[in-house]
Point group: C2
Chain length 95, copies 2
DNA sequence: ATAAAATAGTTTATAAAATAAACCAAATTG
DNA sequence: CAATTTGGTTTATTTTATAAACTATTTTAT
């Protein structure tokens, strides 16, 4: 039997990192994700959009005072996708 | 603290699949890897070269009768890289 | 015997992805 | 008040993955 496919949307270091972080918090701000994933703002912005387009996360744009504030949450769909990805990965890395 | 980087050479479905397979066998033929990873010959050929260039695997080209026979083995260096990759991944997927 | 198809690949071209660079608007600091 | 920082987005560039085209030999069918 052949190896299972890995969800290409999750098989990206940055997007996986974001999803991983969102798994363990209620919600996270752009700047938090940027720091934790060690990414540039541009790259993060692009990848968040992709996750959002896929319905894996929701993005809420508000203001803190007059500065923009971007807040992300994982969705139920995203959670399921993450779990399936982890499951498929285990075929590759054992255990 | 920020998330660890994932070895980009291993963070590719096909290359990871190859390495995963090579972890559990003494050596593997091109056609075996092709079937197990569900890849095209072209893509597999390219990715094997990359793994070989990095010193993660060795590729031996011989003949079975008059047909070409390509045999791959994981190297000590590749084994270590694989283990480190799996380790880093755990930061992302938990456990 | 020979044309057609299959095997075992490689090389090159194309599509998709990741990343970086340039930019914008407001706020803060010197 | 000019320069820098913050919090981003958009666009351009580079890198990567994938697919398509090709080579050489072999096997199968006619």
């Amino acid at each position: 039997m052949a190896l299972k496919d890995l969800d290409p949307l999750l098989h990206s270091q940055l997007r996986l990192g974001v999803m991983s972080l969102l798994m363990s918090v209620e919600s996270a701000e752009f700047t938090f994700l940027k720091e934790k994933t060690n990414s540039t703002a541009g790259n993060l912005s692009v990848q968040l959009d992709k996750l959002s387009e896929a319905g894996y996360i929701t993005i809420e744009k508000t203001f803190k005072g007059k500065k923009p504030l971007t807040t992300c949450k994982i969705t139920k769909h995203g959670l399921k996708a993450f779990e399936e990805y982890v499951n498929a990965l285990k075929q590759y890395i054992g255990k």
